[in-house]
């Protein structure tokens, strides 16, 4: 793929019609593809020596993180800064939420500072949507409970498309703690919209009710499920919380659901391995696989910046007034 430096960004694209990015479910197929195409154009920007575009100059972006997240927050921060926005980080410990202020109060307070975009992560499903109803600027969901994490699904799709040259027609397996994963939900919605065959693979107790309506196929056996897949997406297991409660032990989990060479051998020979991070090596994935030649995990991180630049640009440069 030719990575020619981009001189302009949004200029070549029609205005993006959404004000917020809360859920993949809100996007039409052409909007998903539009965002991926925009992100593709952002990739070379980060590879240039002068990694900046002036498109968001004069705009204010607030990253409001009620849950700590080093990588997602830095990714959004770098994305905003590379587009010339003024980026302010607010994390929960320095906010007044811990003093009993409600989410809606916080929204009103921040709104009065007239930001152009709020990037919000919150532990409760629906919290970002609620906040978006109370502010006058664009809102990007950086993860809300077990609901959605739309930019993760977009960056995963971009990574797949760059490695496979296409998305539709592929078979993608998502493995692990589906029940508690917003990444799984956003990916299932996005991949479903792009006509990908999706499989979820997990022990029954980590599969949420009704999952058969969201994924093309459901497996509880990893080797069965990985047969013939083009992409293996591993999910993080919150093993500190899960051990003894949702699963008996990490070693049993790893034995049956951890991705090692033996299990990966069931996938297509050119299958790629993905993980949204942060990884638990030796819990859901063998370190040798995580760092091996089939792993595209660091590419995902790079695509994360490109996708977030594209989303910020699409939401803020359209005619929203």
């Amino acid at each position: 793929m030719a990575d020619t430096p981009a001189s302009t960004s949004s200029g070549d694209f029609p205005p993006f019609r959404q004000r917020h990015l809360i859920s993949i479910a809100d996007l039409k197929q052409h909007e998903i593809i539009d965002l991926l195409d925009r992100a593709e154009r952002m990739v070379p920007v980060s590879r240039q020596e002068r990694k900046s575009l002036p498109t968001l100059s004069g705009k204010t972006q607030i990253n409001l993180f009620f849950e700590p997240s080093t990588r997602t927050q830095s990714s959004f921060e770098i994305a905003g800064k590379r587009l010339g926005a003024l980026v302010v980080n607010m994390s929960v410990k320095t906010s007044s939420v811990s003093k009993g202020e409600t989410l809606v109060d916080t929204a009103a307070t921040l709104n009065a500072m007239r930001p152009d975009v709020l990037v919000v992560r919150h532990g409760a499903a629906g919290a970002v949507e609620l906040l978006s109803q109370k502010v006058g600027c664009s809102v990007i969901n950086a993860g809300d409970g077990a609901h959605e994490h739309p930019t993760q699904a977009l960056l995963d799709a971009l990574t797949i498309r760059r490695h496979k040259g296409r998305i539709s027609g592929l078979t993608v397996a998502i493995c692990g703690d589906i029940a508690n994963s917003r990444v799984a939900r956003s990916n299932l919605l996005l991949l479903g919209a792009l006509h990908v065959r999706t499989r979820v693979i997990a022990p029954r107790n980590l599969l949420p009710p009704g999952i058969e309506h969201l994924a093309t196929e459901v497996f509880t056996d990893m080797e069965e499920g990985l047969k013939g897949v083009d992409v293996v997406m591993m999910l993080r297991l919150q093993h500190e919380r899960a051990s003894g409660k949702m699963i008996p032990s990490v070693r049993e989990y790893y034995r049956f659901y951890g991705l090692d060479a033996e299990k990966l051998a069931f996938a297509n020979p050119d299958a790629i391995v993905m993980h949204p991070g942060p990884m638990n090596r030796g819990v859901e994935i063998d370190p040798a696989i995580a760092d091996g030649s089939r792993s595209v995990i660091t590419d995902q991180v790079e695509m994360g910046v490109a996708v977030r630049m594209a989303v910020l640009d699409a939401l803020l440069s359209g005619d929203q007034a």
Binding site: T102, H122, A124, A125, L130, G145, P209
Partner: protein
């Protein structure tokens, strides 16, 4: 002494007697002094005469499950504001749940409520007394003393007693005083952090689900204990198809043991349902609408169909509003963090009439579940139109169209689960003890 009141040309609908025909009612001294279905009644001198013009005259509604904020959270609801809402909704008596601050777990609090309600509320307030101190599910309260103070039944309100042994003791002791146990069945460990019905819809929203079994497992336990102890047991609010089956089976035991008959179901085992579970389902939550986050979660459409059928067949005895005022501070929150509950006193009748207008349940059956059945369960004189009964009556235009607007409701809280709903049926006049406490103004 107020002057006698004559209501003529009314369509008298009295579920207790199965009456549905034109007639005249005379009210004197707070009671129904005379009732004529065919001929005229003698009109005393100075009586006020109301021509009902064919409107339905029914017993005032008795709502089995209402939360207020008094004492403790008066900004949410007082007995006075709940009374206003009740009067406007045709509810002439309501059972007040003990979930107040302090909780209704002591004779003195019951006594306070009875007096306070008499002084401030337009309708009859019937206190339910806590089964356990602080509704904490640990130590029994003084059932007998609270009954003497005016408690009409025993309930831990929103809370559900987890200890089977304690519940057995409570039921035995309640049977001793012939008091009805009204219990909301939730297995709290199984419900866990769930906030809505378990299923695809919860999965899509990323919310934790509450399995139906969190209701049915303790319900099954309760029904077996009720048979064991001989207590009068009322399942406070059920929501699932399986619960209907469990209640139906338990009612068969009662008949088998000759404590009831096929024609007279008695009051040993009864069940109630919230109007919300009859009219709404989990899809109404939409995108995290917290007014639809309820103490008993909205279930699937299949469950809703099953509970309607249960009501039609008389397996479910009573319909209540589950009126639960919550302020915006605790409702304008992310779904999982928001309080449960919705107000409903003012919309109860019109929402229930939806089932009548859609031909799912006959009018007499729907009204019975809000009048004579609650009266039988609670041992009240009200809930019927008969000579000598208290003159708690409503005049209803069954087809009056209106749209619910939270700003026009009389409750102090705004959390209605029927916001913007188009309803047919409205109370035109509410009479409590012979006094008109609400008159509809166009």
């Amino acid at each position: 002494m107020t002057k006698p009141l004559l209501i003529e040309n009314a369509r008298i609908v009295d579920p207790a007697s199965g009456t549905d025909q034109r007639g005249t009612v005379l009210i004197e001294n707070g009671r129904i002094a005379d009732l004529a279905l065919d001929g005229p009644v003698g009109v005393p001198d100075g009586a006020e005469v109301i021509n009902a013009n064919g409107l339905v005259l029914a017993p005032g509604l008795i709502d089995m499950r209402v939360f207020t904020g008094e004492p403790g959270w008066e900004y949410r609801e007082t007995l006075a504001s709940a009374g206003e809402a009740a009067a406007a909704g045709g509810v002439t008596s309501f059972v007040m749940m003990p979930d107040t601050m302090p909780a209704v777990d002591d004779g003195a609090v019951v006594d306070f409520l009875v007096r306070r309600a008499k002084a401030t509320s337009k309708v009859n307030v019937l206190p339910a007394a806590g089964i356990t101190k602080g509704l904490a599910g640990k130590d029994l309260t003084e059932f007998g003393l609270m009954r003497e103070a005016g408690a009409v039944c025993l309930s831990d309100g929103r809370n559900s007693i987890q200890s089977t042994a304690l519940l057995r003791t409570a039921m035995s002791y309640a049977a001793n005083f012939d008091m009805t146990i009204v219990h909301h069945t939730v297995d709290t460990s199984l419900a866990g952090e769930g906030v809505m019905n378990d299923g695809l819809f919860a999965t899509v929203l990323g919310l934790k689900g509450i399995a139906r079994e969190a209701e049915t497992i303790p319900l099954s336990r309760d029904l077996q204990l009720a048979a064991l102890t001989g207590v009068r047991y009322h399942a406070a609010q059920i929501s699932t198809q399986r619960s209907v089956e469990l209640i139906r089976e338990a009612k068969r035991w009662v008949v088998r043991d000759k404590l009831a008959s096929e024609t007279d179901p008695g009051t040993r085992i009864t069940a109630g349902i919230s109007i919300n579970n009859l009219c709404l389902n989990e899809n109404d939550i939409g995108r995290y609408r917290t007014y639809f986050k309820l103490g008993t979660p909205l279930r699937s459409e299949d469950d809703r169909r099953a509970v309607i059928e249960g009501l039609r067949l008389g397996v479910i005895d009573t319909i209540h509003s589950d009126h639960d005022p919550q302020d915006s501070e605790v409702k304008r929150q992310p779904f999982a963090e928001a309080s449960t509950g919705a107000i409903g006193l003012e919309t109860l009748l019109a929402a229930a009439l939806r089932l009548v207008h859609s031909d799912e349940v006959p009018l007499l059956t729907v009204l019975k579940a809000m009048t004579s059945r609650p009266a039988e369960i609670l041992g009240l004189e009200a809930g019927r139109i008969a000579k000598g009964a208290p003159a708690d009556l409503i005049l209803v235009d069954l087809d009056y169209p209106w749209q619910v607007s939270e700003n026009e409701l009389r409750s102090r809280s705004r959390n209605t689960s029927f916001e913007n709903a188009r309803l047919a049926g409205k109370v035109m006049r509410t009479i409590v003890g012979g006094e008109t406490v609400f008159l509809h103004k166009d």
